[in-house]
Amino acid sequence: MSDLIKTFLFYDRQADKPIFVKRSRDIDYSFDGPDFYSVETAAAAPITASENGLLKRKVAVAIWLRTIMAVIDRGVSDDFSERSLKAIPVDDASRSKFLKLTAEEKQLLKERILLNRKRFEQKILAAKTIEEVESEFLMMRNSVQIGIYSPIERELRKIYEDY
């Protein structure tokens, strides 16, 4: 476990006041929007000061998105780990081809996760009202795209059943 805890401070550009604080060991929460920016620091976080509800909500939703995408990415790494792949019965003659294909599939999935994260993030950051943020948040949560690799097997099974 990493002992270094980073603190990400999010600032309201116009008021130049902090709006949100997020601490993390590994996940990168640095992202900027047209109306806020983030600063990474190792220092303790100050108390949030700005009352800008729209910006706070945007940052909160974007943080949720980054966290779940990190969890999904972790799931892909686990499922495609050497240990997991060894457990799949493939004859010796085909194993190297199998490993090459799974490596490509893993790469594609990870690229897709990153692409989806960027796509959702852009929409959230560009939102002009809290209603827009909530609408995009709902879309994200309900999206099958975000479930291309759901961290929750039960949800993944549900997606398969629905199709």
């Binding site: 476990m1 060991r25 972790r74 961290p151 949800e155």
Partner: protein, 84 residues
């Protein structure tokens, strides 16, 4: 040092999803199978635990099996995050 038990974790989940109050959950009930947690609420629970217990989860611990039941969550908190 913060303290916690399975009932407190259950209360945090209820705060995020009030209908869970009526779910017949014990410490080993599957939270995902029961519908108490999903990919939305599990992330919110992670954030709630971080804020209330003043901890920061390690990325490698953000796996579904660590959150599959109240006992698993409690075990993770006690063994890795110095929560009693």
């Amino acid at each position: 040092m913060k303290t916690i038990d399975t009932e407190q974790i259950r209360q945090y989940i209820v705060e995020l999803k009030p209908e869970v109050r009526d779910f017949p959950l014990d410490a080993t009930s599957g939270l995902f199978d029961a519908g108490a947690l999903d990919s939305y609420t599990v992330i919110m629970l992670i954030q709630t635990l971080e804020e209330r217990l003043d901890i920061v989860f390690d990325y490698s611990d953000l796996r579904a099996f660590n959150f599959e039941n109240l006992e698993a969550i409690l075990k993770l908190l006690k063994t890795k995050y110095d929560v009693k």
